[in-house]
Assembly symmetry: C2
Homo-oligomer: 458 residues x 2
């Protein structure tokens, strides 16, 4: 149990904490929009960390500045690396917001602002816990390092290099990332698996210019038709990806993990309806929806374009056509290997009369975290204590590259202990964070520090 | 043989004719650009026809005005309907023209201007012949009706209605259309077959908005993947269209016609190179290129678009994807029947989890003209006399809807006797008409009138 003094401290300072988080949320820190807001947010965080008693600085990078901070509590205690990001998604479309995205507003028990949940609010819950230990708990029970980046929402293009360059300085025993969601509103969750990514652009080129499809149709191989055939050939009739070897390295989830997923409160019809769909027929036939989203690799065409796309009819054979294809990868699959297999398959399938160009636009490795590490047990017990319910171990079909990088480059046990809810409108207008999640999240973060100091769950 | 007086007249008036054609070419009569240039060109033609002794008027339509004219020569003579169009293709890109498109300029024996060949120059060759008969031949040997439209280059959207409304006034025994090309520079040609058209737009719709392809990939059917699969499924591995019944009504060219095509001066490698290609692998495997372009139906994807098409990577499942599909049809195929078969096949192939919308954007029937009609024999002999070489009977893979409409609505024997050359840069910068083609074309047109009056070839 968390010392009562901490709980009381966090309860007593809720208004001030809300006001401070409001200051941070009022800063439009868009990594996509250039540096001004990002620098301001980084400066605010540095000063706030200094107020909490940490040594803190902003460190310039090729992108927005990173915030690094450290507090050495005592020899022999475990060292925790705390990760967050201060950059936010663009707020468009502005007219869809009930209150302006950078004017934090409380309504119906929720704090509305861009970044309220993703990730300033979740990060601030962690900082509230640090403050409570410092001011009311006799000091932090662990040694703490803080790393806050400013370009997560644009894919963290400089993160791998930065972590590589600062691996020594960021050395720790465990890492906690608060940038994830509960599975359902009342079900605290720990995300232990993330899919990786391999993103390839394919262009098929034919004649040197668009041609009259009446005069030349039947003589000239049509690049748009070839592109369609190539994209279509990557799946079979059962939704399986046909790239040779694609599934070779796939690690199936354990029977225990699968059994746990079957117990999750998941209503397929409700989920389908929330997307405007009647049924969920994507992916591999015969597998449960959560398996298809979490533990099976997929290939999706993210966009395609070629020839005439305006109103009405134009009778041409396009000179070229392009598709964007991305694969989500699951544990043991390797982005480079899968990308090579895709490119080889496309070349093999490409007919004469056209040429093929492929380029790799993005890649990230899949992640699977051990559910029984000391950090994981510490988070499990902390969430149970703060939210009154045993957390679920879940996965997410998306990629959060920092998780894999922390694991691979810094060799830390990481835990994704997030406080967001599925209804927070992440990346959408009217993003918000439930105040109860902020407060209980700070309790969970405080308990996590105590549990980690004690070697795991207590 | 043409009376010597006509030949002499046409030779003597070449400079004035060139000046008059220059006046017509200087008028920027773009159907796509609104009415000013079109009205001016129609007025110029009306006045010119009146100078030649015809009763002429411009007739308003829902589009640009049509020019109608008539000259009754004598009872008992055949009546000919002469068709042309005064509208021209847009001249863009202007910077690619060596002389301005609406400043007619003679260089190297050619007249350069937009419309010089398509179709003002070819039409004017016909009018030169009318003038020669009127001024130097003792009057026209046939009764003549003239119909000149002003929206051929935008697909003649009001033509079918106009011809239907004016069928009585346009009644004749035969029609001549001078809006086509020689097969090669020194090979006069009569086009006896044109492909038809059926143009369909297909949209596949899935979720109500673009979705995160990581979070939802594997659960949600991807509309871009479905579109690709639908488009791909319309051809088999040998380039044949797989729509059930697609080839049922196809009329094969006669053995005689096929033998004639084999004799045409056609170099596949030269043709491929002119399109920027190494080989011609479109259409049905195993058939000669001219058959694939002229006598076999085809299906081409003219454009496709869906999802993210900008620079770089965006990981979405698109809410929708659209393709434009057009089929070129050959004699005995019916656009409505083929369109219905395509729509049914797409519906049949469409998987659950998405919805399909199709709309018909355009259609035209194929045309095959009898090569032995009196008008055809008259043209054959006229071209041989004027150009000194027996004309070839060829087809064209494109559609010229007026041909089929004249045949179907006015029930006339039509002949496509054109004087353009493959090197005229139709629809491109630096369009031109060889002066020798203008002059010899007028001789051919004059001989055609004589031959037609005599009941065919003489």
């Amino acid at each position: 149990m968390l010392p009562a003094a901490l709980t009381q401290y966090l309860r007593a300072h809720r208004d001030r904490h809300l006001a401070e988080l409001g200051e941070l949320l009022a800063i439009p820190s868009l990594a996509a929009a250039g540096d001004d807001g990002c620098s301001a947010a980084a400066r605010w965080l540095r000063e706030h960390l200094q107020r909490l008693g940490l040594e803190a600085e902003t460190v310039a990078s090729a992108g927005p500045p990173n915030v690094l901070a450290e507090l050495h509590a005592a020899e022999g205690r475990p060292t925790l690396l705390l990760y967050g990001h201060y950059d936010v998604q663009p707020p468009d479309p502005l007219e869809a917001w009930a209150s302006p995205p950078f004017t934090p507003t409380v309504r119906d028990g929720c704090l509305y602002a861009r970044g309220a949940s993703d990730d300033k609010g979740q990060l601030f819950a962690q900082l509230m816990a640090v403050e409570a230990w410092q001011r009311a708990g006799g000091g932090l029970p662990v040694n703490l390092k803080v790393f806050i980046e400013g370009e997560e929402e644009i894919g963290s293009p400089h993160l791998e290099a930065f972590l590589g360059d600062h691996a020594g300085r960021l050395a720790a025993d465990a890492a906690v990332i608060s940038d994830s969601e509960f599975f359902a509103d009342d079900l605290p969750s720990i995300t232990i698996g993330l899919r990786g990514l391999a993103y390839v652009e394919v262009t098929v080129r034919g004649p040197s210019a668009d041609l009259h499809s009446g005069v030349h149709g039947g003589a000239v191989r049509n690049p748009a038709d070839v592109l369609a055939a190539l994209v279509a050939a990557l799946h079979d009739g059962c939704g399986r990806v046909t790239i040779p070897g694609f599934y070779d390295d796939v690690l199936d989830p354990s029977a225990q993990e699968q059994a746990a997923w079957a117990q999750l409160p998941f209503d397929e019809q409700e989920y389908a309806a929330s997307l405007g769909l009647k049924d969920l027929t994507g992916g591999e036939a015969g597998l449960p929806v959560l398996h298809r989203r979490w533990s099976r690799p997929t290939l999706d065409c993210n966009g395609l374009v070629g020839g005439y796309t305006g109103r009405g009819a134009k009778t041409i054979i396009p000179a070229a056509a392009t598709a964007k294809l991305s694969m989500r990868l699951v544990p043991r699959q390797q982005p480079d290997k899968v990308t090579d297999a895709l490119r080889s398959q496309l070349q093999r399938l490409c007919p004469p009369g056209v040429t093929l160009e492929t380029s790799v636009l993005s890649s990230a490795r899949p992640v699977l975290l051990a559910a029984d590490s000391p950090a994981m047990r510490a988070a499990q017990a902390a969430l149970a204590e703060a939210f009154g319910r045993e957390p679920a171990f879940i996965r997410c079909g998306a990629s959060v590259p920092v998780t894999e990088l922390i694991q691979r480059l810094l060799k830390l046990d990481a835990v994704l202990m997030g406080f967001g809810l599925p209804s927070d409108n992440l990346h959408s207008p009217n993003e918000h964070f439930r105040l109860e999640q902020l407060w209980r999240g700070s309790l969970a973060a405080a308990a996590f520090l105590k549990n980690l100091a004690a070697g795991g769950g207590t």
